[in-house]
């Protein structure tokens, strides 16, 4: 198979097609518009449906409808548009329907700016919508992983009948790397027992909050997500075996941190890296064997730090330091110097 140099966004779009997705409805927003632009010609090519909707709300609503028919349905946005979808996501989750949603994070709140950021962590991981639900959240850190996780996202969404989010960032989405794609997969909506196609000669089907029909709703939901927590944690670890300080970072930050680990090791500092690949469920298992680690640091492109709370809990309240990025991509040297401050006991802030 030949490797093709491709942008993260284009790779997401192609991977969705390969993963059997034949329905996209969404609205342009930088830095994810290439997903729409790509699918605007690619979907018709494979006989799928591409709709540029009048808004993100309409997009997530169409995805809801499409998902009800068993189609592998897909939409994407960035922060502001992702916010507008939260009600819809809550509905889809409550109706136990599968779908895949990409949030290409940009920096800041409100209008925000289009450069890379990681400030939508809570919105994705602590459900930005109302009520009790969770979404499986993938955080790729390369274009190839973006492809692999996108394909997996459609499978997992269907397996758990739950929305799956891909929380990426402007850097991973705009950068190009060589990638390989799996073969084109066809998807048979009619093989799914819950997929709507009219009642035919049987009982009619209903898609609404399962709360209305599931008498043991509370426990059912708890068990469902406990299973996901048990089975779906994914992470990468770099030099954690003998580390005294473990950095925790995902997405673009994790690539810079990988560089930091190398630099630190060269200077004799025992630094390692845990890179969550799933943000929900957070890979707490990765932390279980790290009994001897003294310090943790959460490295996020967020000025207020969000993931750090999950790190603190996973680290069972050992000292955990925020290393914040913000208006620009931080350089490895900056992080290294923050690391040295921690070793030297000079880091001011700790959880």
């Amino acid at each position: 198979m030949t490797r093709k140099l491709m942008k993260g966004n284009d790779a997401i779009a192609e991977a969705a097609i390969r993963g059997g997705c034949r329905f996209f409805a969404g609205y342009p927003i930088t830095p994810q518009s290439e997903i729409l632009e790509y699918l605007s010609w690619r979907m018709p090519e494979v006989g799928g449906v591409f709709i540029q909707t009048e808004s993100e709300i309409s997009g997530i609503s169409m995805v809801y409808g499409a998902a009800a028919t068993g189609a592998r349905a897909f939409t994407s946005s960035s922060g502001p548009g992702f916010s507008l979808m939260q009600e819809g996501i809550s509905y889809i989750a409550s109706a136990e329907l599968p779908c895949v949603i990409v949030d290409v994070q940009r920096y800041g709140s409100g209008l925000a700016d289009i450069f890379t950021g990681q400030g939508d962590y809570w919105q994705a991981v602590k459900n930005g919508g109302h009520g009790d639900y969770r979404c499986l959240v993938y955080a790729p850190n390369s274009v190839q992983e973006t492809v692999d996780l996108t394909v997996s996202a459609f499978d997992k969404a269907e397996e758990y009948r739950n929305p799956v989010l891909i929380l990426t960032d402007a850097s991973i989405a705009q950068m190009m790397e060589p990638v390989e794609f799996p073969a084109l997969k066809d998807h048979n909506q009619d093989a799914l027992p819950w997929a709507m196609n009219g009642k035919g000669d049987g009982q009619n089907k209903r898609h609404t909050s399962i709360m209305y029909y599931n008498l043991d709703y509370d426990n059912y939901l708890k068990n469902k997500y406990d299973k996901i927590i048990e089975k779906e944690q994914q992470w990468e670890e770099i030099k954690t075996e003998d580390a005294e300080l473990v950095l925790v970072a995902y997405g673009i930050s994790s690539r810079i941190c990988a560089e930091v680990v190398e630099m630190a090791r060269k200077e004799g500092l025992m630094v390692g890296l845990i890179r969550p690949i799933t943000l929900y469920p957070f890979p707490v298992k990765a932390f279980e064997k790290l009994e001897k680690v003294k310090y943790f640091a959460s490295v996020e492109m967020s000025c207020l730090s969000q993931m750090i709370e999950d790190v603190v809990m996973a680290a069972r309240c050992r000292p955990t330091y925020p290393i914040r990025g913000g208006m620009k991509v931080y350089e490895a040297e900056e992080i290294l110097s923050a690391v040295k401050d921690i070793f030297a006991g000079n880091a001011k802030e700790v959880y």
Binding site: R3, K4, L5, T30, P31, D113, I114, F115, T116, A170, S171, Q174, M175, M176, E177, P178, R255, I256, A258, E259, E262, V329, E331, A332, E333
Partner: protein, 179 residues
């Protein structure tokens, strides 16, 4: 190998970087390409970071530049200081005339905009720059470089015979100066 391609918005620096990245893939390297992406969508300067390596590439961002391909003055001013000692700068002499370069780096100057205009291929100034880059021998040899360019445009269905002209001219002019 860490490169930055920088210039004005319309000068094709993103494409030049992309062609080199693609060429890197073709010869079996690991590659990353990432555009600089700020809040101003229009006008201003543009650049991309390219890494080409045999090993795994961690961060796609280039801090220490091995090769700087730069097509206008503001970008040169911005990036020169990040070039590693012994590193290489390819400049567009048409727009960057008198400049007092650092002494610990190697500079290849080529009148890219001028040559492209001359040869009636005003959009080809970036290809001239790649000719100069090939001449420097710092990345790919001329054959590989040209094949990369040719494949890139063939794939896009935008085959322009004038591209070879400007490439060869950029190559030749730069070699000439090296003497």
């Amino acid at each position: 190998m860490n490169l930055i391609f920088a210039g004005f918005g319309g000068q094709g620096v993103l494409t030049a970087g992309l062609i080199m990245a693609k060429t890197g893939v073709d010869v079996g390297k690991n590659v990353t390409w990432i555009p600089s992406y700020g809040s101003e969508m229009r006008g201003g300067t543009a650049n991309c970071n390219v890494k080409i390596s045999d090993g795994k590439i961690a961060s796609p961002f280039v801090n220490k530049i091995d090769i700087l391909v730069v097509m206008n003055m503001p970008s040169l001013v911005k990036f020169e200081k990040n070039v590693v000692p012994g590193g290489i700068i390819i400049t567009n002499k048409t727009l960057i005339d008198q400049y007092d370069f650092r002494k610990d780096i190697q500079v290849y100057e080529v009148a890219a905009t001028g040559i492209a205009d001359e040869l009636n291929n005003p959009k080809g100034a970036n290809i001239v720059m790649l000719g100069a880059l090939a001449a420097s021998g710092a990345l790919f040899n001329p054959e590989v470089t040209w094949k990369g360019i040719e494949d890139f445009f063939l794939e896009k269905g935008k085959n322009n015979p004038k591209n070879e002209l400007v490439f060869r001219k950029g190559l030749a002019e730069t070699r000439k100066k090296q003497g």
